[in-house]
Amino acid sequence: MKTRARFVVALLGLSTLHAIAPSVANAQEPRLVGRISDPARTRVQSIVDSALAVGLPIEPIVDRALEGAAKGAPGDLIVSAVRRLWGELRIAREAFGDGASPGELSAGASALRAGASSADLAELRARRPGQPLTVAAAVLADLVAVGVPTDTAITAVLALAAGAGDSEYIAFRRNVERDIALGASPSAALGVRLGAAAAAETFDAASTGRTPQPTKRKP
């Protein structure tokens, strides 16, 4: 009897080692080692662990830290950037839902950085049920980056949300950028291209009997 009891205890001990060993092995993100100063790395690692704990993707977080390291940024600035990104990813996940892909969350974080709100992202999710959001959210950020006012960019992206595929979003952004490069103001360029897209949508809806989606976002 004692032999069996000892066997059970030994088995539990081995199970403990087996369970803990991988955790210890994964405890430190290897890509950060040697790239960032130890104090900053410890703080970044805690943010990475926190992301893991709540199910956020760690890849964008590690990438942001490595970008700071490659550009010679001080540790505090790297930690600050990583922490901010963690918050944006969390808000994006709340808006897009638990099933959002890492790419969608990264793009959502960029859209938030561009000035979109959590409600805007949730509205985008609602208008594109079952469709990927990476490109739509990314185009929103890209439009703001070329000078389109945030509200205008959000309205445009939401207006396209129901009918446009990724390629239409990309074409829309390229057309706006081209118009800006040719001298148009960002707002005017976007207005012209959005008008063209709305006309095309109305034409398609008339052809197929569908109801065009509203172009204004919800207040």
Binding site: P22, A145, G165
Partner: protein, 192 residues
């Protein structure tokens, strides 16, 4: 009758009285016998383990053993939560249009830099490693290029010229994020 005969008779009387046996003892004994391996016949391991599990045991643990058990339970819970947590990896999960699928899309990075001695592209796709993805210079001109297969996703990147000068890609969108004072370009590949 002698006194000795009387003692013998009393002892004999006592011995002749029926012994009262607990009525459940037979079933208990038979159950124990059932649990024992029959001579010359192998008992299935599962049956033996089941029988062992059915019996009551007293397990004595040292403090160290108790800690081991507690650690095992904690580790099991930790491992379970890790397994249930979504992976943190950048994985394509859905199909889209630009790039058409979750298959990697080959992207060519090009920079015109006639006076440069070296050009590398660094970004989210190569861990921002300045030595992983050097661009090659075309013969006779200043056009530098490299191709990189990328899965669907959103990638920020920048060119590093001569190991010192960071440049945005003049043909790509600018990234909205600029926390380190050196702006990036951004590339979005649909499908995720």
């Amino acid at each position: 009758m002698t006194e000795q005969d009387d003692i013998i008779q009393r002892v004999a009387h006592t011995l002749k009285e029926p012994v009262r046996v607990d009525p459940g003892i037979v079933s208990r004994v038979m159950a124990e016998i059932d649990d024992l391996p029959a001579p010359g016949r192998a008992v299935p391991v599962s049956r033996s383990v089941f029988a062992w599990l059915r019996r009551r045991h007293t397990i004595r643990l040292s403090p160290l053993g108790g800690l081991t058990v507690a650690a095992a339970v904690a580790a099991a819970v930790l491992l379970g939560s890790r397994l249930l947590a979504p992976s943190g990896a950048l994985l394509p999960s859905e199909t889209g249009t630009l790039g058409a699928s979750a298959e990697p899309t080959v992207i060519q990075f090009v920079l015109v830099a006639p006076g440069a001695a070296s050009v590398v592209v660094v970004g989210d796709f190569n861990d921002w490693n300045v030595s992983t993805t050097p661009l090659a210079r075309s013969e006779g001109d200043g056009v530098w290029s490299v191709t990189v297969p990328l899965s669907p996703g959103r990638y920020r990147y920048s060119f590093l010229v001569d190991g010192t000068t960071w440049l945005k890609d003049p043909h790509a969108a600018s990234a909205i994020e600029d926390e380190f004072g050196r702006p990036n370009s951004v590339l979005t590949i649909g499908g995720a």
